[in-house]
């Protein structure tokens, strides 16, 4: 039973990951991230992704504040924030988020306010989707570890 649980969970995890790859939500960089996880840093992926979430949410909030401001004009700042988002998203393999950030960045370079607003919405949407998926992934992984732990008692 326990063994089945582990296998089933593993299968679920794989299915979810495959689906995310197919959708383009994640790319091979994410795999590299997984490869960096080892005995010396057993929760590497989880840690990095959480750092990513924290940083990104700060940036997104800041972006929203900037754009909501009627007298907004600091496109450069938006560009900088986005640059960071592009960098971090691509580093963890969040391809879709990265792509929409690049599009958003282009709009900001053209000082296109409506374009920026739209861009921000799209980015927020993609980001939330990614976050939900990652949460689900982590939950499954957590359950799997528990099940595996039980299966192979020390």
């Amino acid at each position: 039973m326990l063994g089945l649980g582990v296998d089933r969970l593993q299968a679920d995890i794989n299915r979810l990951l495959t689906s995310l790859f197919h959708q383009g939500v994640l790319d091979e960089q994410f795999l590299q991230l997984q490869q960096l996880q080892d005995e010396t840093s057993p929760t590497f992926v989880y840690d990095v992704i959480n750092i990513y979430f924290d940083e990104s949410e700060k940036l997104l909030r800041s972006l929203r504040l900037l754009l909501m401001d009627r007298e907004f004009s600091d496109y450069k700042k938006i560009g900088l924030h986005l640059n960071q988002l592009v960098g971090s998203s691509s580093s963890i393999g969040a391809r879709r988020v990265r792509n929409v950030c690049v599009a958003f960045r282009s709009a900001s370079e053209l000082n296109n306010r409506p374009g920026c607003l739209r861009g921000l919405e799209v980015v927020e949407h993609e980001y939330n989707y990614l976050k939900n998926m990652m949460h689900e992934l982590f939950q499954l992984e957590q359950q799997r570890l528990l099940a595996a732990g039980v299966r192979y008692p020390m």
């Binding site: 790319d27 091979e28 960089q29 590299q32 991230l33 960096l36 840093s41 590497f44 840690d47 990095v48 750092i51 990513y52 924290d54 940083e55 900088l80 640059n83 960071q84 592009v86 960098g87 971090s88 691509s90 580093s91 963890i92 393999g93």
Partner: protein, 545 residues
């Protein structure tokens, strides 16, 4: 080789434990970077503030070997940090950015960055960064290794030792390149991150290759340089370049040009340009693409031969066209029996005698043949020579049959050359076929096809292919016959490519060794991954093969 080997050994320990200071305000990237660097077995210190980084560096200049810094940081511009570090500490600095805009890359380079990486950073790229440290050290130690000719290359170039490590780097590069390709648009040339970065890398590698080659074969190079230069000229669409055929010129020119035919990419180019005798060698240089570099080495071999041939005959990269070749050849022969070209001369003589009319084709073949005589130079060109030798044998064996196949091969070859981004056009070929497999992923295939060329040809063409095969296989090793037969037309190109790769490989050794090495290269083919000019380039060929 010996020296290099020693260098390799000595440097073997080096990358491990290299002390890196990583600076990035983005915590996510910093964390990932740190982990990647640890994987590469470097010793890592991180900070998310540029000011702090400067403090750390100022506190003890010898505490770090390399700095990796992000460009966009809130407390200090990454470029500013780069400048300060360069000025005060003279440490190699690698820039990191999420911006692939060439402006930034240019800015990084002009501010003194050793490299410019785009996020997401891949481990393959990080595996190679240690070369910057070596390069920097070497550059400051010996500016000697000059390539004689104006090397536009990197200031730090000319590090033989660096070259020695090239193998390692190449491997890394290869991986890196492959990785890049996979990640980026596979159909296009590699553009892993920033073109500049790639190019710079390639340049470095290439230079290393050249260095190696030149280092090994100084003597040979001298002779062959001219040839190569000429050839390269021809390749480069010289078409109407009045190449000073006189072998005397070549030799003299070669010597003047500097023995290192290939030292840095720029160097090579420089070389080409320097030999005035060569008739305004065009720049093969500006090998924008790594492919160029790769080609250079191999092309050089070809060039020799080609150059001897009346370059003006070459149209559209078909240097060999025209009859004057035989004459040149003789001159070459006399001048450098021992030079790589010698092989050519041997080949040529047979040609002229056998058939003057079909020179274009023959020439191509001849060019490939290289000098049968294996000069005891470790010069990678040997390989080429070896190949040339094969060719020459082939040529001499069947003089009349060449023309038909030759044409194909010519065109193929030239096409191949053209394919590569570089401007090289093999003189041999009517069309320029980019030999550079590295640049053109599809090239390797071309090679294969080339090998099939000889299906049409009689013995001669076939022979060529064989030699091509030889070359193709592995980096420099002779490819199997099977390979050659794949595409007779392309046989030339293939062979040529092989030559190049062989060159690059720099197994260098006597000409005899080249042959042997070419054979070995077959096996090592797989190793080379396309991409970097240096070894990387070869690998691509090989893998394709």
């Amino acid at each position: 080789m010996t020296v290099e080997q020693q260098d390799c050994v000595a440097l073997d320990q080096f990358p491990v434990g290299m002390r890196v200071l990583a600076v990035d305000d983005d915590q996510t990237c910093l964390r990932i970077l740190e982990s990647l660097l640890h994987r590469c077995q470097y010793h890592v210190t991180t900070t998310n503030q540029a000011q702090k980084a400067l403090e750390l560096l100022r506190e003890n200049k010898n505490k770090f070997d390399l700095v990796i810094s992000d460009v966009d940081m809130p407390d200090m511009d990454g470029f500013k940090l780069l400048e300060l570090v360069g000025l005060e500490m003279d440490l190699p600095v690698i820039m990191l950015s999420a911006h692939s805009d060439p402006k930034y890359v240019m800015k990084g380079v002009t501010h003194g960055a050793c490299d410019y990486l785009l996020k997401p950073v891949r481990i393959e790229e990080l595996k190679n960064i240690w070369q910057h440290v070596v390069r920097k050290n070497r550059g400051s130690n010996n500016g000697d290794k000059k390539d004689g000719s104006g090397n536009e290359g990197v200031a730090n170039s000319d590090q033989n030792n660096g070259r020695a490590n090239r193998k390692r780097k190449d491997q890394y590069n290869e991986d890196e390149d492959e990785e890049r390709d996979d990640n980026d648009d596979p159909s296009s040339q590699k553009k892993p991150r920033v073109v500049w970065t790639v190019e710079l890398h390639k340049k470095f590698k290439f230079r290393l290759y050249l260095k190696r080659i030149s280092g090994n074969q100084q003597a040979i190079m001298a002779n062959s340089d001219l040839h190569f230069l000429q050839m390269s000229n021809g390749l480069d669409g010289f078409h109407h370049r009045p190449i000073p055929v006189g072998s005397g010129q070549f030799h003299g020119g070669a010597a003047a040009a500097g023995m290192r035919p290939f030292p840095p990419n720029n160097g090579i180019l420089g070389r080409l340009n320097t030999p005035s005798g060569i008739g305004g060698v065009r720049n093969l240089s500006s090998p924008p693409s790594s492919g160029m570099f790769l080609q250079n080495p191999t092309d050089l071999g070809k060039f020799h031969h080609v150059s001897s041939l009346p370059l003006n005959h070459i149209d559209g990269g078909n240097i060999l066209q025209g009859l004057p070749i035989p004459l040149e050849f003789d001159q070459l022969q006399t001048n450098n029996n021992k030079s790589i070209i010698a092989g050519n001369s041997m080949a040529f003589p047979s040609f002229p005698t056998s058939q003057q009319s079909s020179l274009p084709n023959n020439n191509n073949l001849l060019v490939l043949e290289g000098h049968p005589q294996a000069s005891p130079s470790a010069f990678p060109g040997h390989q080429i020579n070896k190949r040339l030798e094969h060719w020459s044998n082939a040529v001499s064996s069947s003089s009349s049959t060449l023309p038909p196949p030759g044409q194909n091969s010519n065109s193929l070859i030239s096409h191949q050359f053209d394919a590569s981004s570089s401007n090289y056009s093999i003189p041999f070929c009517d069309s320029t076929i980019p030999l550079n497999p590295a640049l053109d992923h599809t090239n390797p295939r071309a090679f294969y096809r080339a090998t099939d060329l000889d299906s049409n040809a009689n013995v001669q063409p076939g022979v060529y292919y064989d030699s091509l095969q030889m070359r193709q296989s592995g980096n420099y090793g002779p490819t199997t016959d099977a390979m050659l037969s794949s595409n007779p037309k392309e046989g030339f190109t293939v062979g040529q490519q092989k030559l190049q790769s062989g060159f690059m490989g720099g197994e260098a050794g006597s000409l005899d060794d080249i042959v042997n090495s070419t054979m070995k290269q077959e096996q090592s083919q797989g190793d080379l991954s396309e991409g970097d000019l240096g070894y990387g380039g070869f690998s691509s060929l090989r893998t394709c093969i």
